[in-house]
């Protein structure tokens, strides 16, 4: 009824309601199918469905590790093993008295959480291959210990799995138990995924340096994720033990680990729905393709290779119809500097970052050789010089990526520690990068929201359970990000995947992301590179306006015109040393600089 007589605003409302439904329709269908499954009255399908749900409980957690954080945990089956044996051994009374199966299942989750963190520890310092090897090695060890520790695990003969009493007794009751837990796991991980923690994980995966500059502390976040993924793996293990009715070490194969892992990648990194579908498909497929069973691992491997090489986005990308709609051609970026007043806190106080006698070597090369520099609030400070003169290196020292060999760095007179790039956000020092560090798979809005991660109040648990504080965080971050995007003139692209944008737009997105910190100091690394003349002019106006709101700007740039147009002071570097410093007018008159860089 409303459809036929709708006025224009009502229709707009309807489309957004439809848009929301479009995103949720797959979940609704999946949920209904899951709830209605017992109506089929076919317990063979029931067993397959139980298995799919159980595998998904594990994969849901693993999805945060692999799909979101990009940590290559190939051997996560070890968490299933641990959870299965813990639950089974406690429920069977192999350790002390017989536990209630539900309590034993919870204990399996706790065990998984503990070992999830232990196995995850190397990932805090080392990425990828080392971590992959660690998880693989751990999976082997767990099986060997299960074989050797006969009193608890029954050794090779194994141990009976728990049978859950009412209301989740074997059969469809147990199916609903698995289904509910899978739904809860989905809900929790989806909450994490759509919170600032989820965005931070994806940022760690695709733009680790930018994540650090935005104040994201990788170790703390990853430990939380490993804890959750381990716990879910352990719970899945307890359910698995019950489904199998009897567990032996040979039930926990490497192939199973590969299955979990590939299901997530087929589903698509950074998606929740995709990996769910991937897990269901890979669990059910071998049952219906019996002749291919011998080749199943081979086919998984082919699938994995094909996904990596051809569709890195997986199923989720194929289902992402929204981002196939064409974008407007010939888009213009028109910053609205008048909005800056709301995006930045105008401060009257004078702040400064003072570098004294900074020196830094790379091997035998002196990258910076005794540099003094002062950045003051409300000013644009230009840093120019030929390639290799130490401009970006200076910026990296200030943002904590390099530790200089000598020298001091003070913020408002107090020592500012070297290193700790993720701590810069708390000093409200923001930056951009020479090549934009953007999460291509996330939307423009999400990319900008990453910049405001430190402003969030909700804890990981609050985010996981979508409690009010997290919802408030999200609302505030979203508003601030929209405002930042409007300020740089890109709000119309908020929902577009960032990797669909032009290079110049990425530069402005980086500035919007930096603005999310409400920075006291903003460091821009060649922001004009790749921009058209018109865009450079607008960029200049934007930078100038930012500084007039009280933010101190350090501008590394090659475009002399831009530097001389907007800078209040300029430092010229050569071979890591200051060649000249002063107002643009003084520099323009500096003979050495003119002859060397500016041309006659």
């Amino acid at each position: 009824m409303t459809d036929t007589t709708a006025s224009t605003p009502a229709r707009a409302g309807a489309t957004s309601w439809l848009g929301k439904l479009e995103g949720k329709i797959s979940w609704i269908l999946l949920g209904l199918a899951g709830l209605a499954l017992p109506l089929l009255d076919d317990s063979y399908i029931g067993v397959i469905a139980q298995r799919a749900c159980i595998y998904w409980v594990l994969s849901a957690g693993l999805n945060l590790v692999v799909g979101y954080a990009g940590q290559i945990a190939i051997g996560w089956v070890s968490m299933l093993t641990l959870g299965a044996y813990t639950t089974a051994a406690l429920a069977a009374g192999r350790v002390g008295a017989e536990w209630n199966p539900y309590l034993a299942l919870a204990a399996g989750g706790v065990m998984g959480a503990i070992f999830g963190v232990i196995v995850g520890l190397p990932a805090l310092r080392l990425r990828t291959f080392y971590f992959a090897m660690t998880t693989l090695g751990f999976a082997t060890i767990v099986t060997q210990v299960a074989l050797a520790w006969k009193d608890v695990t029954g050794g090779g003969v194994g141990t009976p799995g728990p049978t859950f009493p009412w209301p989740f007794e074997p059969g469809w009751g147990f199916y609903y138990f698995c289904f509910i837990l899978a739904a809860v796991a989905t809900w929790m991980t989806a909450n994490i995924g759509s919170s600032r923690y989820g965005r931070a994980l994806v940022a760690i995966r695709d733009a680790e340096v930018a994540a650090e500059a935005s104040g994201i502390a990788k170790p703390k976040l990853l430990i939380m994720v490993f804890l959750l993924a381990g716990a879910l793996g352990g719970v899945a293990g307890g359910l698995f033990a019950s489904l199998q009715s009897y567990i032996t070490p040979d039930a926990f194969t490497f192939e199973m680990s590969v299955l979990f892992f590939i299901a997530i990648l087929i589903g698509g990194r950074g998606s929740i729905l995709g990996p769910v579908l991937g897990t269901i498909i890979l669990t059910a497929l071998p049952e219906f393709a019996a002749p291919l069973v011998q080749w199943s691992t081979f086919l998984y491997a082919v699938l994995l290779l094909a996904i990596v090489l051809l569709v890195p986005g997986g199923i989720a990308d194929l289902l992402d119809f929204k981002n196939r709609r064409p974008l407007t051609q010939h888009r213009e970026i028109v910053p609205r500097t008048e909005l800056l007043k709301r995006a930045l806190d105008k401060t009257d106080g004078k702040h400064s970052i003072v570098l004294k006698d900074i020196a830094l070597h790379f091997g035998g090369v002196r990258a910076i050789d005794g540099l003094d520099l002062e950045i003051r609030s409300g000013e644009v400070h230009g840093l120019i010089g030929p390639n290799g003169s130490g401009k970006t290196t200076t910026l990296n020292v200030i943002s904590g990526y390099y530790r200089p060999k000598t020298g001091t760095m003070k913020l408002d007179g107090a020592d500012m520690p070297f290193d700790q790039p993720h701590a810069r956000a708390s000093y409200r020092i923001a930056r951009t990068f020479q090549t934009p560090r953007i999460v291509g798979a996330a939307s423009v809005l999400e990319n900008v929201m990453i910049g405001g991660t430190v402003h969030g109040q909700a804890t990981f648990t609050e985010a996981m359970l979508s409690l009010p504080r997290n919802r408030r965080d999200e609302k505030l971050l979203r508003q601030a990000a929209m405002q930042a995007l409007a300020t740089v003139g890109l709000e119309s692209l908020a929902d577009v995947r960032a990797d669909r944008l032009q290079h110049s737009e990425l530069r402005f997105i980086e500035i919007a992301r930096a603005l999310m910190l409400r920075p006291a100091f903003l460091m821009l690394d060649e922001p004009a590179a790749g921009l058209s003349t018109e865009e450079i002019k607008r960029l200049g106006a934007l930078i100038k306006a930012i500084s007039r709101e009280g933010t101190g700007v350090l501008l590394v740039e090659h475009h002399a015109d831009l530097i001389f147009d907007i800078c209040d002071r300029v430092t010229v570097l050569n071979l890591g040393k200051e060649l000249a410093a002063g107002t643009p007018a003084e520099i323009r008159a500096h003979r050495e600089v003119v002859s060397a860089y500016l041309g006659a």
Partner: protein
């Protein structure tokens, strides 16, 4: 018993060291750790047994054929699984693509050749009374292969022009390309070389480790441990780490039994990684920004 620890330990250690070098040669050329290293080791044994024992090819020809297969697999690895994902190396997709390729080869081997451990022929007919027979050839062959490889690599890298080009790529591929070095071709050559070294490890070690599909994961892990301990890219580190690992494992086997050895190696691996991520002898990490 002491002699047994030493002979087996050094022989197994030499195989680990060679697999470690295989990892390193690929890593130096591309900054990529490839899961194909263990696969090459496994195939060295399986293909050797297939060619020499099953098809009756002469041992020398069989040896050359195995190494040639290794080189071809190295090239395929580079073209199929490494080059396409190299431009986004910070996404580390190579871990997945090389794992997928290694799993594919492993599965084909399992189905076509079998999952049991098969014997490997005795390669060199040695008179039981000759000096060479004092120590069984299954012990000294991998050690000899390891020595030849490390000396050969040192010679290649230090004394020849192409070797220096390899080193230049390993140091700084951007700069090397700027100098006009054919980076892609050098990378392919490195992968072919890694293929040869990996299959050489498997071939010379197979009288001891047998022609066995299960060697793939074992060599993948235990071949990587010396790289992690010795520092990535360091061949000398890999040799020292490999031999130490082999001796430690054998000693533990003799003194306390297998499972404790496995747990101990894993614990050492984790602790070293946590305390010195760059390895015991490695240099600190490269620039990131």
């Amino acid at each position: 018993m002491f002699a047994s620890i030493i002979s087996y330990g050094l022989a197994v250690g030499a195989v680990y060291a060679l697999i470690g070098i295989t990892y390193n040669v690929m890593f130096s050329a591309s900054r990529v750790f490839s899961f194909t290293a263990g696969m090459l080791g496994m195939l060295g044994g399986v293909l050797g047994a297939l060619f020499i024992k099953d098809w009756g090819i002469n041992a020398v020809l069989g040896f050359v054929a195995v190494l040639a297969c290794g080189a071809v697999l190295g090239l395929v690895t580079e073209i199929l699984t490494v080059r396409p994902v190299l431009k986004n190396i910070e996404q580390h997709l190579y871990v997945l693509s090389t794992l997928a390729f290694a799993l594919m080869i492993q599965q084909v081997t399992a189905i076509e050749y079998g999952t049991e451990a098969y014997p490997f022929p005795v390669l060199i007919p040695i008179d039981a009374n000759s000096i060479l027979a004092i120590v069984d050839q299954k012990f000294w062959l991998p050690v000899l292969a390891c020595i030849v490889t490390i000396v050969g690599l040192e010679f290649l890298y230090r004394r020849t022009l192409i070797g220096r080009a390899f080193l230049a790529i390993a140091e700084d591929s951007y700069a090397a390309r700027a100098l006009g070095l054919p980076e892609t071709r050098l990378r392919m050559a490195s992968y072919a070389l890694a293929g040869v070294i990996g299959t050489l490890a498997g071939f010379t070690g197979a009288q001891m480790l047998l022609a066995f599909i299960g060697n793939q994961p074992i060599l993948n892990f235990y071949g990587f441990v010396p790289v992690a301990l010795g520092g990535m890219g360091s061949n000398r580190g890999a040799v020292i780490g490999g031999l130490a690992l082999g001796l430690f494992q054998q000693a533990a086997n003799f003194l306390v039994g297998g499972i404790f050895a496995a747990v101990a190696v894993f614990a050492v691996f984790i602790v070293v990684l946590l305390l010195r991520p760059e390895g015991l002898a490695g240099a600190s990490a490269a620039r990131r920004v």
